[in-house]
């Protein structure tokens, strides 16, 4: 452990990564590191490459150039250590399935044929407990509210027992009335595992984020040793701030960005 401390704490390492669909590059010369235990928020304009970067980290896409490694392995090899939470709106609301059955999908890599083992069922229940939905385990997915559905998907990712949790706009379709409770659920995970989430949610960033990964064609990491209040102030006009920064980035002025 002591001999190689860097190896032990680096979860994700990207070096000169480029990716494009066809000829147009979506991400260019992307380099960053994520250390163990960090909670990072990924922000940036739509079409800036946030989802693409998430897919690269999941190994669903291959970089054109450069490297991206998770836990010192390729993203595809590292999948069993990564939990992924997509947006709940993507799913067919009529699909006949219960909450616990969805969470059990997080254990599919430990399952071969037939029924799930008792151990898997217990792990799934624990994951549901963690997001506060244990008593709704037998409830059909379609009967759940938007926030509950999103929490079921988080539980599914937790059932993988991940070391790195990737979330795609977890609060995008949640009512304001339950958002606070939802953020609390996520805040409880902070520190237990490394978290990287795409989000535009200022409350979420201020509550959970240690740093911000600003993704807009290129990627810049901004440390946020700032109080929640200050973040709120900066991002109260998130678009304006972003565009301002983007313009300055392109002119080579990085004074507004605090790089690591």
């Amino acid at each position: 452990m002591r001999s190689n401390p860097v190896e032990d704490t680096t979860i994700a390492l990207s070096n000169g990564l480029c990716f494009g669909y066809g000829r147009q590059l979506v991400l260019e010369d992307v380099s960053f590191t994520i250390s163990k235990g960090e909670s990072l928020c990924m922000i940036g304009p739509n079409g800036g490459g946030k989802s693409t970067l998430l897919k690269l980290m999941l190994g669903l896409l291959e970089p054109n150039r450069g490297t991206l490694s998770l836990f010192g392995k390729t993203p595809e090899e590292a999948r069993c250590q990564v939990g992924y939470v997509p947006q709940a709106v993507r799913f067919d609301p009529l699909f006949p399935i219960t909450a616990i059955d969805i969470v059990l999908m997080g254990r599919l890599d430990r399952h071969r044929f037939g029924f799930f083992s008792k151990e898997c069922r217990e792990a799934a229940l624990v994951a549901l407990e963690e997001v506060g939905l244990a008593d709704l385990s037998q409830r059909p997915f379609s009967d759940l509210s938007g926030g509950q559905r999103q929490r079921v998907l988080i539980a599914r990712a937790l059932a993988c027992e991940p070391e790195l949790l990737l979330l795609d706009e977890p609060t995008a379709n949640i009512d304001l009335s339950v958002e606070e409770q939802f953020i609390e659920t996520l805040a409880q995970l902070k520190g237990k595992m490394t978290i990287l989430m795409v989000t535009h949610d200022l409350d979420l960033i201020s509550e959970i984020g240690d740093s911000v990964l600003c993704v807009n064609h290129r990627v810049h990491r901004h440390s946020l040793p700032l109080s929640g209040e200050t973040i709120r102030e900066i991002y109260s006009g998130v678009r304006r701030v972003e565009h301002d920064r983007r313009a300055r980035h392109q002119h080579g002025d990085h004074s507004a960005c605090e790089h690591d």
């Binding site: 999948r79 006949p96 599919l108 890599d109 059909p140 993988c160």
Partner: protein
């Protein structure tokens, strides 16, 4: 469906005891209910009814080719059933491969396979030497033409389908619900999607015997559609649709025999009526 029949059913029960054809039909109907109930639930849930319909129509191509080649080259093993299975599996893989890989619109390829299968089938049957082939039993189905070897084929194919679903149930469900996540958990989503299409293809072959090419889709989809109005758990949906298909197949056979009406249309008519009624019943239950 509790209709008080104007006729008594003893005639049918006598027939079951004395006429092997009726016994075979009844047996095939009972065994295939299991297959149809299981696969139909997946087809409805995954919304691939139209793929199933395209496969059903492509089956005529296989039947036609089997009749043509078996007569021209004297190949007795090449029965219409063999041709149907090959054509159905081939179409399932073409549709699956195209929608997964080639980036063509799925509905376009469904339409193409649908028409191509019918066209090749009709041409092969047109040019097949020997006695004329009755198209009607393939297009509208005739469960009463079930032979002993058909019953064996139904049982074998049914066992294959049910075993595969039993073994890979959770993976199939996961791939239907969220292909991407299943892949992230090490499940080869594409392979399981193709497996689902292959199971659908085998079911359609069995289905065409009962209800024919045109009506078979209704028999696959309606019981599961009715069932999913009453449950939001897939295994319950499966059990209900097995039950419904069993009632439709056996009841339809008995009543159509007794009333002397064609079996396939009669079964589909009942299935459609029950599906329609399920809306009314649901409304009454809610009120």
């Amino acid at each position: 469906m509790e209709i008080t029949p104007p006729v008594n059913m003893t005639e049918f029960f006598d027939a079951v005891q004395n006429i092997p054809l009726i016994r075979y039909a009844l047996l095939a109907g009972i065994v295939s209910s299991l297959t149809f109930g299981v696969v139909g639930s997946f087809v409805v849930t995954r919304r691939i009814g139209y793929i199933a319909a395209a496969i059903a129509h492509s089956i005529l191509g296989g039947i036609g080719a089997a009749i043509y080649f078996s007569r021209v080259y004297d190949l007795p093993w090449l029965t219409p059933m063999v041709g149907a299975v090959v054509a159905a599996l081939l179409s399932a893989f073409v549709i699956g491969w195209v929608s997964l890989r080639a980036g063509e619109r799925e509905d376009t390829i469904i339409g193409a396979i649908w028409a191509f299968g019918m066209a090749t089938g009709l041409l092969f049957i047109h040019y097949a030497p020997g006695k004329a082939v009755s198209l009607e039993s393939y297009i509208f189905g005739n469960i009463l033409l079930t032979s002993r070897s058909d019953v064996i084929a139904t049982v074998v194919l049914g066992v294959i389908v049910l075993t595969l679903v039993g073994l890979f149930y959770h993976k199939l469900v996961a791939v239907c619900f969220d292909e991407e996540f299943a892949r992230l958990r090490g499940v080869s989503s594409d392979a399981y999607y193709l497996l689902l299409l292959a199971l659908t293809a085998i079911s359609m072959v069995l289905m065409v015997r009962v209800a024919g090419i045109i009506l078979s889709l209704a028999l696959l989809v309606l019981p599961a559609a009715t069932a999913s109005r009453y449950s939001r758990k897939l295994w319950v949906v499966i059990l209900i649709s097995i039950g419904l298909t069993l009632v439709y197949n056996t009841g339809g056979l008995a009543f159509s025999f007794q009333l002397d009406v064609p079996t396939g249309p009669f079964i589909v008519l009942i299935a459609s009526l029950v599906y329609g009624l399920s809306f009314v019943i649901k409304r009454i239950m809610k009120a």
